[in-house]
């Protein structure tokens, strides 16, 4: 049995499941972080038994797991605390219950990791960007010079240096829709650091990440699964709308996205980096400058690979499905 943890709206999950269904007779149980289920859960020593709605399974049934999206998937196991008379106590108890929940989750993940093939990162979120940049340099990859500061004067000196800097979120950027059916969304993108950005900012500001702008020939999006790499080059430079951040789509003239052959030494370094971050799948964002130098920007363990896979015919969905059914056939 293959266990998939995801969100209800994730299209890539459906595409991978269709491949699993096409390639094997494996039973698939998909649990969405944003849906409520009736859950029965017993963990004893090194085993567990779970029932999620109609699907009941034990640890020995699970051959492979795909941690695609979401944090912990068994919502509502713990009651929420309601004590309107005692808000401080309620907050404290809620915090305690959250800790209980997290401990349970970590143990559950650990059991899965020890007994079955787990694809994806357990905490479900991106590793610390600044840590990634440090590790990247350790394995010999170039990164654009950066600094973090809460001083406006620091930012002003960067502007004055004339080198060109961008600023972006240190953690995951904001990516939020009002409601799933509305078109109103809020996004943070990578923005160029210009004098107008600092207008009205006090001398002490919120600590901000600044990164030297690298004049790129093109961007790279590198999907990896274990030691297999699929790279695509994105040509966004000719279009002012997408020059700094390619996610600002130009729908009239979408950027060119074409397959790219990574130099073996870059691939080897990315492999080392993935290993040092304990990631077995995800995608790297890189840029290549006019002199052919490669820079690592960040890694995203749960990115949307669907559009790249389709446009460059990379068959990533099939790769993932094959990885997930591999253990199944041997049973």
């Amino acid at each position: 049995m293959i266990l998939i943890f995801s969100n209800s709206g994730d299209p890539s999950t459906l595409d991978v499941m269709r491949w699993i269904d096409h390639l094997s007779d494996a039973k698939v149980v998909r649990i969405n972080a944003d849906e409520e289920y009736s859950v029965e859960l017993t963990i004893s020593d090194d085993d567990f038994s779970v029932r999620v709605d109609e699907d009941a399974f034990g640890l020995e049934d699970v051959t492979s797991v795909w941690l695609r999206k979401g944090g912990f998937w068994f919502k509502g196991l713990f009651p929420s605390v309601a004590a309107p008379e005692h808000p401080a106590l309620a907050r404290h108890l809620q915090h305690k219950l959250d800790l209980e929940n997290r401990t349970l989750r970590d143990h559950f993940h650990d059991l899965l990791r020890r007994r079955s093939a787990v694809l994806g990162s357990a905490n479900g979120s991106a590793p610390n960007k600044l840590v990634v940049l440090g590790r990247a340099r350790e394995v010999g990859l170039r990164t654009p010079p950066y600094s973090v500061s809460n001083l406006r004067s620091h930012a002003q000196s960067l502007v004055a240096s004339g080198c060109g800097y961008v600023t972006k979120a240190m953690s995951d950027g904001l990516y939020l829709f009002d409601t799933t059916e509305s078109r109103t969304g809020y996004f943070t993108y990578t923005e160029a650091l210009e004098p107008r950005v600092l207008e009205g900012v006090g001398e002490r500001m919120a600590p901000s990440l600044f990164q030297r702008y690298v004049d790129k020939a093109f961007e790279l999006r590198v999907f990896f699964l274990d030691d297999q790499f699929r790279a695509a080059a994105i040509f966004s430079q000719s279009d002012a709308q997408t020059r700094v951040d390619y996610r600002k789509y130009n729908s009239e003239r979408p950027n060119r996205v074409v397959p790219f052959r990574l130099p073996p030494e870059i691939e080897a370094k990315l492999s080392l980096l993935a290993r040092s971050l304990d990631l077995n799948t995800g995608s790297f964002d890189m840029i290549v400058d006019a002199h052919g130098e490669y820079y690592l920007l960040e890694v995203n363990p749960v990115g949307q690979f669907g559009p790249l896979s389709e446009r460059c015919n990379m068959a990533i969905e099939r790769m993932i499905a094959e990885r997930l059914v591999a253990r199944e056939q041997r049973v």
Partner: protein
């Protein structure tokens, strides 16, 4: 960057045609398929050999070998390629491989058509077996009132929880039905992605907004189209014009290079309940009640026509639109010739002109041939 500047400053570099822009050679006109921007542009085929030169020679070498008259044409062509952002000038294009030409899909059957005229089929069996084959899209065509709105509602219910993601219907107008009835059924099933009502009293469009308000409504609205035109038989299908060409994408382009755009991974149940590759094609694979659809699909004879790619069809093999055209293998310009081009296409690749197919010599006779051969009488009204 314009061509004059390039010819002066970048003579030692190569013109790189982005790998998502694929040249397709035709007789009089050739095309570039822009797979990212989903657009085809055409140009005189005389320019086609430049693409091979671009890969082999530096810009300066190409230009130096041209005569003065050729030079101006070349500059014009280069400007056309630059204006559409089909090319970049690079020192080395070796790091940019072609997009893989492989094609596959996670299903044994991708789409199916069910025709209904005088009798019902076993819809429950059809949906269950199609789901087992991974079928994603289902179209149902009701020629007469037997398959109406109530039946569509029931079919949509059957499709829930199956592999079928979209259901499209063409139904005959039912006099007793109000607009609200149509809107209610379509609005109740997100699976229904299109409804056309034929033989209607007037041309009209009805909006379905799924109860959404404001911005969301404009995003979700689906239109039911009512047309006075009748749908008479499966022979009404197969029109090929510029508007019918598929906007090119990587998967469709790759599929059409290897397979028939219309028949590949398709299955049809005709109005008598027979399993076919297409309702208008000869060759029945048995009554759907008596055979298993999985067994039919496993049969080599059933899958044979899937490989009827445009590259192997007369005339079409010289057409620059051949990887964007689903073609038709049921109604041929010359019914006696197996690889004859589709009857209802008016494009002539040797002159690069579109005309009305009905004006072509022999078109009326070919159509009459199919009408006489139809496997059952066409019941009108």
């Amino acid at each position: 960057m314009d061509s004059t500047q390039l010819l002066r400053d970048r003579r030692d570099e190569y013109v790189f045609l982005f790998s998502d822009c694929v040249p397709v050679e035709g007789a009089a006109a050739s095309a570039i398929y822009d797979l990212t921007r989903k657009h085809i542009s055409t140009f005189p085929s005389a320019y086609f050999p430049f693409f091979a030169l671009f890969r082999a020679r530096r810009l300066g070498e190409i230009v130096d070998a041209l005569s003065p008259e050729e030079h101006d044409d070349f500059v014009a062509f280069l400007d056309f390629l630059l204006a559409n952002e089909y090319v970049a000038v690079v020192a080395d294009a070796a790091a940019f491989p072609e997009i893989s030409r492989a094609w596959d899909a996670p299903c044994a059957i991708h789409n199916a058509i069910v025709d209904v005229r005088g009798q019902h089929h076993d819809y429950r069996k059809i949906v269950a077996e199609l789901s087992g084959l991974g079928c994603q899209h289902l179209q149902v065509r009701g020629y007469a009132g037997v398959f109406g709105l109530a039946e569509l509602d029931e079919l949509a219910r059957l499709c829930r929880g199956s592999s079928i993601q979209t259901l499209e219907a063409i139904l005959a107008h039912e006099p007793g039905r109000s607009d609200d009835d149509y809107v209610a059924v379509v609005g109740a099933h997100r699976l229904i992605t299109g409804l056309t009502v034929h033989s209607a009293p007037q041309e009209r469009r009805l909006a379905v907004d799924y109860g959404a308000r404001g911005d969301a409504a404009t995003l979700l609205t689906l239109e039911i189209s009512m047309t006075v035109k009748p749908l008479e038989s499966a022979l009404d299908c197969g029109q090929i014009g510029k508007r019918q060409l598929l906007p090119p994408t990587t998967p469709t382009f790759n599929e059409l290079r290897q397979f028939s755009g219309c028949l590949n991974r398709k299955l049809a149940i005709d109005e008598r309940g027979e399993v076919r590759n297409c309702p208008a094609m000869r060759g029945s694979f048995g009554d759907h009640r008596a055979v298993s659809l999985a067994q039919v699909v496993a049969d080599e004879a059933f899958r044979r026509v899937w490989a009827a790619r445009n590259d192997e069809i007369e005339v079409c093999r010289d057409c620059p639109y051949r990887y964007a055209c689903t073609g038709c293998r049921a109604l041929l310009a010359d019914p006696a010739v197996e690889d004859s081009k589709p009857l209802k296409c008016g494009y002539d690749p040797y002159t690069d002109t579109w005309a009305d197919w009905q004006t072509r010599a022999g078109a009326a006779a070919a159509l009459a041939h199919y009408q006489a051969r139809v496997h059952l009488p066409i019941v009108r009204g």
